[in-house]
Amino acid sequence: MNKESIVNVIEAANVEAITLVSNLEHSGALDIVDPFMFRLSIFILAIFIGYYVIWSVTPALHTPLMSVTNAISSVIIVGALLSVGANFIPGSAEASDIFYAKTFGFFALILASINIFGGFLVSHRMLAMYKKKV
């Protein structure tokens, strides 16, 4: 066996080994985690954070708590903004569907904006009233 053919054999073995490892990575134990699992992890951990944070809220501020949670849940506005920006791409969707999506998005945008501005402002108004004894 000459030197060249030995190199060829080693290279072939190398390629095979790499293929085997990458096959292994894509099956079973080394499988890629579904993004859903990351979202679920964030969700569950955020529930725990919420649990501890909310229990530390003083009962005197329960009404502002509701108006603040109301305002921040309007972060759903990100979905509304994406819908309004929906573009017609030929072949991917009907033009009428895009029109519907934009319309829904526009109304969602108005509703969420009412909530964001109204919610934060009314919270501010309430919180400004709480005064200590002078």
Partner: protein, 465 residues
Amino acid sequence: MSANIVAFLYLVSGVCFILALRGLSNPESARLGNIFGISGMAIAVLTTLTISATTNILDGILIISGITIGGGVGIYIARKIPMTAMPQLVAAFHSLVGLAAVLVAAAALYAPAAMGIGSPGNMHTSSLVEMGLGVTIGAITFTGSIVAFTKLQGLVSGSPLTFPKQHLINLLIGISLVLMIIAFSLTESHFIFWALTFTALLIGVLIIIPIGGADMPVVISMLNSYSGWAAAGIGFTLGNTALIITGALVGSSGAILSYIMCKGMNRSFFNVILGGFGSDSNSISSDTDENRPVKRGSAEDAAFIMKNAGSVIIVPGYGMAVAQAQHALREMVDELKKAGVSVSYAIHPVAGRMPGHMNVLLAEAQVPYDEVYELEDINSQFSQTDVTFVIGANDVTNPAAKTDPQSPIYGMPILDVERSGTVLFIKRSMASGYAGVQNELFFRDNTMMLFGDAKKMVENIVKSL
């Protein structure tokens, strides 16, 4: 912007919201917390605008006009709304979050490519399940909040509305919702999506109508929780971290508030949700009590008694909110303090129509928050107090909750007002409270009833002081 930076900014926005809620642990830090909340929202909106990368002028006009219209309406409402109307305002705001969730889910169904979740007819089953859940909870939040709003605003009667086979019908509709979510996630059918939405809108009405006015603190908290879960559902569909975090925070916030409210009434969550409480009027006892003697007093009597007392505790209830008596009450307390009387306020967890309702009204009347105490902090003080002044509260002072196992309110934590030297009750009439039970306290020797409108009565007391 790279996808990683975008994801990071949404995370920052979520953290700002956590800090906004964390601030509410005390009134001083709460104001800073609100600024964190606003910053989080600004970050989320700006980040989204950069990735949607819309070069279309029309889209830009739509976005600016949508935010301007909504923002204008929101600012107008928030500036004009009186503090006594806060429960209905919060209910109305919840309904908007619910409807926005429905609309965003619909938009995602029609144009999934815009949200980066696949192409029409070819979406992930998991996205569809999340979308189905989000739209269902959103629709329930929407109509449920509208019913709660109409009850709180007095557009419809606050009394529970019940009809035969109510729970069976609700159960069947609930099961059909589950089946429709499954069918929708398997087929991605637009028809099933809308059927699901309308059924959820219907059940939202049906589950709130049997719940009476004074149970509204639980209902509002529950709808608060639902609006959070709806947002989280949409967050899963869109794969948006800020929405998922916020949804989880708001969802658990509402759930905890519901729990606190239920505990304040010693009733289980299901007992409240199944509704009908206080509708079967327990008029048996009140008929016989009609002629029992009570000690009536005038504003002058009340003024004299309180001026000569060493300490007074004030117990406000929903009646104070209805009569808008909080400002007159603060004036009365100012006069008493000038006369050297020590005054504090005692708040029952379920006083009013939403969690913390009384605290906001007292804060509006410029009562310092460190004079206002929660039930467990002040209950031991009543025995060392000369006079308790109950204004617009009833059931939360009823000793039957401790002594009478037959009473519908038995086991509910109450303010021990009967332990104080004298109890003054402002009431419009001898009518029983929400629970439909007579309050034994009215007939005691150390109780004086002040009949009349709470605001006028307090104003007369101020004049006499």
